[in-house]
């Protein structure tokens, strides 16, 4: 997806009206203030309760949440063998892209920034019976170009099971696509070892679907292994898709993924966790120029992912291989992305240091490709709260004629927790 318009350099089309700058600034200010307030509330709550908060006497209506206060600084970088500052789209580089969905980019010239990835999420869950519940998850982000200041609705769904101990669950509503291993909990920092799952692997335009899924989980005989299988169907339309608009086309772009149909199966014995996923959909991408520029229309696309994780004694191993494929010879469309990551960590008391290599590449010229070596230390210094410090050495291996994001070295610090 990242190179749908082939050979197009960074463009600066100013034919569409953006919100006035002052207005954007005010919205950002409000967002930052709200975020700061929510963050303090979260810290306060985390201090007083370790579990979900009951909102009614029966305990059937609960609130819980999570937060990441992330700051990072680009230590240095270069592009095409020169460390002279350059621009890529709106960014003053050396710079480092760490979130593709909401376009979190750190710029060296801005020093230490905390407004690119910080967020607070609240989840409300109402259980109507022991087999039927409704859950909403609302996330306030410091950086949300898709949706300005209002919190995004990451999840809003009804869940139903045939009985309380049934292995089957059906969910319908707004859900996150369980594409790669971390896709559906990309923002629950407390649950994984890094500041964020490697962005080399976690970059595309659409992360949610409106639809339904059915899942089944079971113990395999009397073995130590359990199996979890899930299938989903749905669609999603994102007007002003931040990924397309800001990173590639610089003109408001609408993308929709229609007729999504996917499934995964995973196996775990508490030590080893294996997962395989495949999803297909029809892609529609339109750049809102006058007249509209259609990038792809009803284009068949397939995504596949394999992952293997090990948690054995003090060892932590995370491995993943994924592939995105959108090809149509007649239309000269040949978008294939290959991704992988491998991380190895070792837990020493409350500290978990981990080294990770991640990589992605397209396959046709001009190739877009980046790789990263990172070192992170997670410190579980108090219940439900982790402090992480991460160093990333990112290499831009793209063959674009112009300077893309370039190489960068980034230092990140993040306080992450749940309440």
């Amino acid at each position: 997806m990242k190179n749908s318009i082939k050979n197009s350099g960074p463009k600066n089309t100013h034919c569409v009206t953006y919100p006035a700058r002052a207005e954007v600034r005010t919205m950002r200010k409000i967002t930052s203030m709200l975020l700061a307030t929510l963050f303090l509330m979260a810290l306060f709550l985390a201090h007083t309760v370790a579990h979900a908060i009951d909102l009614d006497d029966s305990g059937s209506f609960t609130a819980s949440g999570f937060y990441s206060l992330t700051g990072a600084s680009v230590l240095g970088g270069q592009a095409q063998n020169s460390s002279a500052p350059w621009m890529y789209q709106q960014w003053n580089c050396p710079c480092s892209i760490q979130n593709w969905e909401y376009v979190g980019v750190y710029e060296k010239s801005k020093g230490f920034e905390i407004n690119q990835e910080s967020l607070v999420g609240v989840q409300l869950r109402k259980e109507f019976t022991n087999t039927f519940s409704v859950t909403g998850q609302f996330v306030m982000r410091a950086q949300n170009p898709n949706n300005s200041s209002s919190p995004s609705v990451d999840w809003l769904y009804a869940a139903w099971s045939p009985s309380a101990d049934s292995p089957i669950t059906v969910e319908a509503g707004r859900l996150r696509i369980p594409l790669y291993y971390y896709s559906d909990y990309l923002y629950i920092g407390y649950s994984y070892p890094w500041v964020r799952p490697p962005p080399d692997v976690y970059g595309w335009p659409i992360y949610a679907y409106d639809g339904a899924n059915i899942s089944y989980h079971t113990q395999i005989g009397s073995s130590a292994w359990t199996m979890n299988a899930s299938a989903w169907a749905g669609s999603y339309k994102q007007t002003y898709d931040a990924y397309d608009t800001l990173i590639y086309y610089t003109t408001p772009t609408t993308e929709s993924w229609d007729k999504m149909l996917g499934s995964y199966v995973s196996f775990t014995n508490g030590i080893v966790d294996l997962r395989a996923m495949v999803m297909k959909y029809r892609d529609n991408t339109e750049v809102q120029t006058q007249p509209v520029t259609t990038i792809v229309s009803n284009q068949f696309t397939r995504i596949e992912g394999l992952s293997a994780n090990v948690d054995y004694e003090n060892w932590v191993v995370r491995g993943e291989i994924d592939r995105y494929q959108q090809q149509a010879q007649a239309l000269d469309i040949d978008n294939v992305y290959k991704y992988n990551l491998l991380g190895v960590g070792y837990k020493i008391g409350d500290f978990t240091p981990m080294v990770t290599h991640s990589y992605y590449t397209t396959i046709t010229e001009p190739i877009e490709s980046q790789s990263t070596n990172s070192l992170v230390v997670r410190w579980d210094f108090r219940p439900n709260t982790a402090l992480k410090v991460q160093y990333d050495d990112n290499k831009d291996e793209s063959h674009y004629a112009y300077k893309f994001f370039g190489d960068s070295r980034l230092l990140s610090v993040s306080l992450q927790g749940t309440f």
Partner: protein, 135 residues
């Protein structure tokens, strides 16, 4: 030779200390529930991978809870919390119900055919059946 004997003695002593530590803790199900339960199945229930049983927890931070997860699930409290944060915020499982102490957990297990909990050995009576450690 002497050193080896000393080593054996030390490791025997350590083994008995370790087994003493969880000799105090037993995993129980409803007295009428005759299903056999392995250590792995207990772990999977408490870590949200299966809902064959509905797990009953002791208070977060309590010594018996830390001991249970350390000896049975072989996870420390932060690993357990990290696993549950993923499950809760992706809607894949509901965290175990939590009760104040062994007596309360026993009451809940005695009243629910599918429940599984861990209590102090001294709290065991005929309303529950011990499934771990196996006799």
């Amino acid at each position: 030779m002497k050193k080896n004997l000393l080593g054996v003695a030390v490791s025997l002593a350590l083994t008995s200390i370790c087994s003493m530590a969880y000799a105090d803790l037993v995993v129980v199900v409803n007295a009428k529930n005759t299903a056999s339960v392995t250590k792995d199945q207990i772990t999977q229930s408490f870590l949200g991978s299966t809902n064959t049983f509905s797990p009953i927890d002791q208070p977060d931070g309590s010594p018996i809870r830390n001991e249970f997860y350390k000896t049975v699930a072989e996870k420390d409290p932060s690993q357990v919390r990290a696993i549950w944060s993923k499950l809760v915020f992706t809607g894949k499982a509901k965290p175990p119900k939590q009760f104040a102490n062994s007596e309360e957990v026993k009451k809940e297990v005695a009243g629910n055919m599918n429940a599984i909990g861990y209590i102090e050995k001294s709290a065991v009576d005929s309303s529950v059946r011990v499934v771990y450690p196996a006799n």
